[in-house]
């Protein structure tokens, strides 16, 4: 048990001291998850709205596909993105393998189905009278879209949080696409995996604590926003 308690102690020291290696992983994680969640929300919310709001031929099949993609294993996404971004792959020229944007592409594939599926569910379960109310008060199609999203904002926030939690904590994509390069593409989760393999629990625990802290801050901010609205 000693190594665990020592790990916690060292973790606190590393964080207080501002250990550069630790903060490099924290910075990489925040940046890459920021890219991926932004793209996922920009694409996922309108797509989720369309999927939840409109009835069209093949809707059930699209829904099934999106729901299936919720269960995509991160290592499989990592493998696919690696195959596309590697020098032999179709997107090899872009030079994105072992870069943070490369990881962000994989994480977007991971988060997008979550945002689409949960946004679609939020819009689907919305009271049908909202649509009638908005149109009968004079809303045009753009106002209908934004006002509907505003009405289901808490569910959309929950979708964003769930997706963010998933990209922050994934290892497979970051490891395979990013290559876990120190000072460059090493994220909190890949660092934890590496340090644990090396038997350096303190660093691993420190990074784990940071991950929990980030999750706490994000949730706290969302809860504050929710209260204000």
């Amino acid at each position: 048990m000693n190594h665990i308690s020592e790990g916690f102690l060292t973790a606190v020291q590393l964080l207080i001291r501002g250990d550069a290696e630790t903060y490099s992983a924290v910075s990489a994680t925040i940046r890459v998850s920021g890219y991926s969640i932004s793209v996922s929300l920009i694409l996922g919310i309108p797509l989720g709205f369309l999927l939840g709001y409109y009835h069209f031929r093949g809707k059930r099949q699209v829904r099934l596909l999106v729901d299936t993609m919720l269960a995509l294993p991160t290592v499989f996404i990592g493998l696919l993105v690696y195959a596309f971004l590697s020098r032999r792959g179709p997107l090899g020229e872009w030079g994105l393998l072992f870069t943070l944007p490369g990881i962000a592409i994989g994480q977007t594939i991971l988060a997008l189905p979550i945002v689409i599926a949960l946004s679609a569910s939020a819009v689907e379960t919305m009271d049908q009278h909202l649509r009638i109310t908005l149109i009968s008060l004079g809303a045009n199609q753009r106002q209908l879209f934004f006002s509907t999203l505003w009405e289901v904002r808490h569910s959309i926030l929950a979708a964003a949080l769930t997706a963010y939690g998933r990209v922050m904590t994934e290892v497979g994509i970051s490891m395979m696409v990013g290559g876990n390069i120190k000072w460059h593409t090493r994220t909190i989760t890949t660092a934890i995996a590496l340090e644990t393999n090396k038997g350096l629990f303190s660093m691993g625990i420190a990074l784990g604590l940071v991950l929990i802290l980030i999750a706490f801050i994000v949730n706290l901010s969302v809860s504050f926003l929710r209260k204000r609205s």
Binding site: H129, L137, G138, N140, E151
Partner: protein, 340 residues
Amino acid sequence: MDNLIYHIRHLKHFYNTHPALEIDQLSISQASVVGLIGPNGSGKSTLLKLLGFIDRPTSGEILFKGKSAEPFSDAVRFRVTLLTQTPYLMKRSVFKNIAYGLQIRGDSNHHQERIYEALEMVGLPAEAFAKRQWYELSGGEAQRVALAARMVLKPEVLLLDEPTASVDTASAQRIRDASLQARREWGTTLIVASHDWQWLYEICDEVLHLFRGRLAGSGNESIILGPWHPRDDGLWEKILNDGQRIVVSKPPERDAAAVIASDHIIVRLPGDEDAPRIPSLDGIISRLILEKCSRQIIAAILVENFPITAKFTQTQVRNMGLYPGQRVKMYYDPKSIQWI
């Protein structure tokens, strides 16, 4: 024809493959008050949603002031508004709910003053209610706020879908008064679907009777559902629980609905020797209502538990001494029955 606000042509509307509404021709005049009556599922709400340009009809067209219009078109977007039976208030304060329609019109003149006026119009003290959140209202208050959100827009057409069905008596009265005030002050055309016949006959210039998605007449008809059974004399009949028989001419199908216009019903007091020699039914008068446009009296007569509508002049009512609760005999000619 110039003062028509709506003209419907060859309208058909389906929900998936289920036919919900079929109206070949219908015209509604500007600033008129039109009532829609009919049982649940008869197409009243569907018609209101189509007239409110919420949904697009499956086929046919709706002309608004002589021009073809559809959902989101500029010709109707800021002119027509619908209030549903179950009000939906957005997750914001009462003030912001009422301000929504003004905001999307880009109308920022005297917001507060106009919103307060709209609240007062529906009988809610403005100062006390404006700041309340949507969840701090009773059902009747929410419905009145929803109506205020429409009133503040001074609409050309106000469509009300059973606006008083799920609210208390006081709220219902306020909603009725505010709707009529809109008509009086701004010339708003009112189209109201309601089960409250009394109210509709009191206020409406015209009452339309919808049944199974079709117009069945002007509201003074009785609709009797099958199944019908053949008799030996070539006529058909339906036997009621109390043993009375409704005798009709041959229906187009066993389950067809028979329509008897009130003009074709003759009412006599029991024991009247001057009774016609045609089929009759025994009933009890349940309601007497004054019809605003004709100044005649509409009588709802219960035969077993089945409402039949008959029409009287005020003199007839006085001479016969009719009153709710009185037993009467109704005579009708089976040949006068229409089928839908």
